[in-house]
Subunit: 351 residues, 2 copies
């Protein structure tokens, strides 16, 4: 098979981890004998500074033919978030109906949890985040601007279609895991319209899966449980905002966001899916060559899995865990490996 | 001085921890020579089952003359949250303009953190939560009910008055602490109208405090930092929802919500303020006499502080930490003390 993959290194450390990922991908393609057509797109804050927009007007059209997008990170200190993120990242997620943001949390070999006494046996779950609607809407506005009476409103929008499909995906995913356990993140005791609706649809959709063990927690106590009882969780489904929070908190108990991968999935494959590390462009360390490429490698494993090259993905993660297990870690994990040296070690362990 | 205090034990373990609190309060009143007029109100889910409402129509009027309200917990498994919470807890917070929800997080003597190697020196911060507006609004609704086209919307409402006053309180509070450090919880990269407004007002209000060290984090990475770097924080200010999340997560790194206190403050004292443990009614353990009363005792300390009886409050917490420091803990903390036996030990340590 030949895979068409769009690369968007983006900004900051995105420009360091994506090249590392490409190196690894090329080794895997040789070893596992699949074809790779990598096309790089310059869409980024640098592009914005030159062209006044993050990507050309037909940017999404350019990306559409690809089977997958591998994105580094977007954002720069002097570019407003509503420009960088709402001009690139969020439109890709939405326009390509990447309605599942899948974020695994697992304690890798050789990485220790900040939680006392917790081992890999305790930390192994998946956050399934709704990725197109909910709290991230662009509906809202301001009244009485600049006065004491100023009022700002923001609409959250939940739809039957949007809620059901992500919960259904979470059910299917949980059914394929040994524990068959699905947890819903809610806040229906405080957020009076959308969250009771989320609960109602959670009950309705999960009713089709009698073999699934289902429970729900309000987001406040759920974050506490992530710290006190990470072993309670298997698959956790949440709205756009709650999933966002849980998928940074989860990695924090498993070594930090230098490690955390994500897959933005258009499950039906009508549009390209996007794979990206959870971390941002990290301007504070960009250019130093010290970024941790694990989050990108793990995202590549998710991409390979999605493309049908699961053995190659598994080999990649085995190589990563061989290296971390041998004690070679980047700076964010307390080690002294650079992006390059770590990548070379992974490639060395691959072959 | 004579203090008029309204007691609302409420439901579940609220009916166990409030009586424990009353015992302690009465001992303190004798020892520190202040007068106490305690008036108990039956407002609860039990009351609802008899009267069809959580409190009488003039319930708030009945509470208004009091200087403080001490509340246990509200909620029962067979009563909908929108009945129990929106019929009692949330109206009190709102109608009495208790716009600050103050929630200290500190590792008490003898209690260990689930975070490896973290001691009391690392965990000592305050969450200041907006408590009247924001994401907890009752504006919203549903369209195309029961069909595939179903849409549910929910409005978040942020006002200049609401945002400024809680940030200003946080600034004043931080200025009175040695570290003079204030962190804002935001999500302006994803939530496009209200959160950039929050950031804007944070900049405007903190400009009046040049001696304050200010920073901000998006809520997703902030939850990660609470786990990875609890020592980074001093005072953390957040919206109603973000403050709610952080004030369950904070206690999780400091021994759990069995310990966590809160003060719902009407800073100007035009209306009564309310003091309550962060935990809920805990129907799973209610009636067993094993609830941890520390959250209530600590809330009482906050109440005494607010009333002007700081020495009595300090004595109470010293007694609590004497008992925990001697290794006497309730079940939630891995010990075998009951609500009663723990309370007796605290009283024993008081005199
Ligand atoms: C019970 C619920 C509505 C409440 C809240 O979210 O405010 C509780 O979680 C709290 O923190 O006091
Ligand atoms: C950058 C930001 C808009 C984004 C999000 O909140 O979705 C990020 O935090 C993520 O998790 O991918």
């Amino acid at each position: 098979m030949d895979y068409q993959i769009a690369l968007i290194p983006g900004d900051g450390i995105g420009r360091e981890v994506i090249p590392a990922g490409v190196k690894v991908l090329e080794v895997l393609a040789k070893e596992f004998q699949f074809g790779l057509q990598l096309t790089e797109f310059p869409f980024s804050c640098a592009y914005y500074r030159q062209h006044g927009e993050m990507m050309p007007a037909d940017g999404l059209e350019q990306l559409r033919p690809f089977q997958a997008i591998l994105l580094g990170a977007v954002g720069a200190p002097n570019v407003a978030d509503h420009v960088s993120l709402w001009g690139l990242l969020l439109p890709i997620r939405r326009q390509f109906e990447q309605y599942v943001n899948l974020r695994p949390v697992r304690l890798l070999n050789g990485i220790s949890s900040p939680l006392a006494g917790r081992t890999a046996a305790d930390i192994d779950f998946l956050v399934v985040r709704e990725n197109t609607e909910g709290e991230y809407s662009d509906i809202g506005g301001r009244l009485f601007t600049g006065t004491d009476r100023e009022v700002v409103v923001q609409e959250s929008v939940f739809t039957r279609k949007g809620v059901d499909r992500v919960i259904r995906f979470a059910c299917e995913t949980a059914m394929n895991r040994p524990a068959r356990h699905l947890t819903s993140a809610t806040k229906s005791n405080g957020i009076r319209f959308t969250m009771p609706y989320w609960d109602e649809r959670f009950r309705a959709v999960t009713a089709d899966y009698p073999d699934l063990r289902c429970d729900q927690f309000h987001i406040d106590i759920l974050t506490a449980h992530f710290v006190q009882h990470p072993d309670w969780f298997d698959v956790v489904v949440g709205s756009n905002l709650f999933g966002d929070i849980l998928s940074d908190l989860g990695p924090a108990v498993a070594g930090g966001i230098g490690v955390a991968p994500s897959a933005n999935l258009n499950v039906e494959r009508e549009f390209p899916s996007m794979f990206e590390p959870v971390h941002g462009s990290a301007p504070d360390i960009a250019g130093q060559g010290v970024a941790n490429p694990i989050a990108t490698f793990w995202s590549i494993q998710m991409m390979l899995d999605f493309l049908g090259e699961a053995p190659a993905g598994a080999a990649l993660m085995a190589a990563v865990e061989k290296v971390t297990g041998d004690g070679f870690l980047t700076r964010d994990l307390g080690g002294s490996e650079t992006t390059d040296s770590f990548t070379e070690r992974v490639i060395g362990s691959l072959s």
